[in-house]
């Protein structure tokens, strides 16, 4: 490793750590503001609130019908995770194992929904879903959320499948395994860590996926993040603390899954997709 010991380089390093520290402090202070406010009785013009209470949680819970919203959220997420796993893993298997004409075009087709921001393709998608009557329903929200998650699973799984030796599958075939047995007894156990990682990332991304859900959700098919948006949008109608209590509930829901996900994946994978596949 190269070590620069001049004064200039030390100053430069200090400046960089100062920037990182500034960013991290502001980030935590922002989160702390939300949490503090959600427990505050009255907080106007002082460093800390006058007193602390937990009543905003019960009022937010009933005002925003959070129980219904949470049930819808988890139903949407479960459906998205299940369908994107089923479609994504099979397609990734074909793409990892076979070379055929048009494969590059197909990979591009799966790459585009990850590169194009959701709001750009979300508006034409919402138009189509409104015309077919799917928008506003549970399955409309699931379908819209699947558009980026299916390609995401495919691109995470391709390198994972590629590093499993095809000879293992050939051996299973020689011993008389049919396709179903091959999948259940050989491929699934080998792929399970990869599938788990991909699906946890899908889960975390779907909880926070605002744009697509916002564009197609109806009153009964809102997820938590969209409900939070409408609450902040209509701020002034409800107490700030009540909205913050809802934000904390949203934060806890997201972070619990993030912590579980981070046991299996590298944090950089949430951003850089298939690039940082760890060697297993």
């Amino acid at each position: 490793m190269i070590r620069d010991t001049t004064l200039g380089s030390k100053l430069w390093a200090a400046a960089i750590w100062f920037l990182v520290g500034f960013f991290v402090i502001n980030l935590f202070a922002m989160i702390a503001t939300v949490v503090t406010s959600s427990f505050a009785t009255r907080w106007l013009g002082t460093w800390l609130p006058v007193g602390f209470t937990t009543r905003w949680y019960s009022s937010a819970w009933s005002e925003f019908q959070l129980w219904d919203v949470l049930i819808v959220t988890f139903q949407v997420i479960a459906a998205v995770v299940f369908v994107s796993g089923a479609l994504g893993v099979t397609a990734a298997y074909a793409l990892a194992r076979r070379d055929f004409a048009g494969k590059r075009l197909l990979v591009l087709l799966f790459l585009l929904p990850l590169m194009i921001p959701p709001i750009t393709f979300g508006i034409p998608l919402a138009t189509v879903l409104y015309q077919t009557g799917l928008a506003g329903t549970f399955w409309g929200v699931v379908a819209a959320n699947l558009v980026p998650t299916v390609p995401f699973v495919i691109l995470v799984m391709i390198p994972f499948i590629e590093q499993i030796d095809p000879k293992i599958e050939a051996a299973a075939r020689v011993f008389g395994a049919n396709t179903f047995k091959l999948f259940v007894h050989v491929l699934l156990p080998l792929l399970l860590p990869g599938i788990l990682a991909a699906l946890l990332l899908v889960l975390v991304r779907t909880i926070a996926m605002f744009e697509l859900t916002f564009l197609v959700a109806g009153p009964t098919s809102q997820t938590l993040v969209v409900a939070l948006y409408y609450a902040v949008f209509a701020a002034g109608v409800r107490a700030v603390q009540s909205i913050d209590a809802m934000a904390v509930i949203y934060m806890v829901t997201t972070l619990v899954w993030l912590i579980i996900a981070l046991r299996f994946v590298n944090p950089t994978q949430i951003v850089t997709r298939a690039k940082q596949q760890p060697a297993h």
Binding site: A94, F100, L109, I119, Y130, L146, I154, D244, M251, I270
Partner: protein
């Protein structure tokens, strides 16, 4: 088992199945079909549909009427400028901050704690960041209080419901994204190249300018593009933290308004197409300039 298995019929050359299998089409290849159909139905078809719909104005008339309306109404065409005025400075700032920090963090042993912290705002999403910043950056928020305590300002700065609120939210969610992408490119370069340059007496700046920068330029170009399209499609924070009727009326607000307040899906599709076109134009311009830089192996034997 029947010992007398029927003899295989005499074949004249390979069958169609064999010929297809030789070109990579067999039962396994067919597994890709469900996902491909899904993508065609929910991604390609809506795009094509939206493109055609944008030429069929709701009010009838000229097939280009939507686009003419967009480019003749300042309330609509100004949204492009508003969005670019936010997206380009934010993307450049994020990249300029991310590069030196990535170079420093690359030397760290325990990067995981920092990357975990930085993944937080991405995971929490723009809506939560907007809600948090509304309090935090507000006139009575901790940010302004701290500055006033240190005597740096005498009046609270106005940081929400204007340009700077949206700017701050784009930095909070955009910087970690840019940084993590940059870090993955920076760590992908063989450190032996830098060591060779150092052995030959190159200073830190020279090593960056003449060794790393040419190798990293393609990666930076892609990072810029991905960060830019994210910033360009800013939506929730522009509504919640900005001034959605004024300076931060970004193009996605115009599209959402057309769709959900005017119920003019034709106009909304036109705006979405214009949004996609502007993103594409910037991305193509950036990627085309990549050709001016070095191309070739950069990872060496490290892989």
């Amino acid at each position: 088992m029947d010992a007398l298995a029927p003899t295989a019929p005499v074949e004249h050359g390979p069958s169609l199945r064999q010929r297809l299998a030789a070109r990579g089409f067999d039962a396994v290849t067919l597994l890709v079909i469900p996902a491909a159909i899904f993508s065609l139905l929910l991604f390609v078809y809506p795009f094509a549909f939206g493109f055609i719909l944008s030429f069929e104005p709701k009010a009838g008339g000229d097939w280009l009427a939507n686009y003419k309306r967009f480019f003749s109404d300042p309330f609509l065409y100004d949204t492009i400028g508003n969005t670019l005025r936010l997206a380009i400075p934010v993307t450049l700032l994020n990249l300029v901050l991310a590069v030196p920090i990535a170079f420093r963090v690359r030397l760290m042993r325990r990067q995981r704690l920092l990357t975990t912290i930085l993944v937080l705002p991405i995971t929490l999403g723009t809506v939560l960041v907007a809600e948090g910043l509304l309090n935090y950056l507000g006139p009575q928020g901790w940010f302004n209080r701290t500055l006033m305590t240190f005597g740096l300002i005498s009046q609270p700065l106005k940081l929400v419901h204007n340009y700077w609120g949206v700017f701050a939210s784009l930095v909070i969610t955009g910087f970690p994204f840019t940084f993590l992408l940059t870090l993955s490119y920076v760590t992908g370069i063989d450190p032996a190249l830098e060591q060779a340059a150092a052995t030959l007496g190159a200073s830190a700046w020279q090593r960056f300018r003449h060794v790393y920068l040419p190798l990293l330029m393609p990666g930076f170009a892609i990072t810029f593009c991905l960060s830019f399209v994210q910033a360009f499609s800013v939506f929730p924070s522009a509504v919640l933290l900005g001034e959605p009727a004024g300076i931060t009326r970004v193009i996605s607000i115009a599209a959402a308004t057309a769709a959900f307040e005017e119920y003019d899906y034709s106009m909304a599709s036109s705006i979405a197409m214009i949004m996609g076109f502007v993103q594409l134009a910037i991305v193509v311009a950036v990627l085309a300039s990549r050709g001016l830089f070095y191309r070739g192996p950069a990872s060496g034997a490290k892989g």
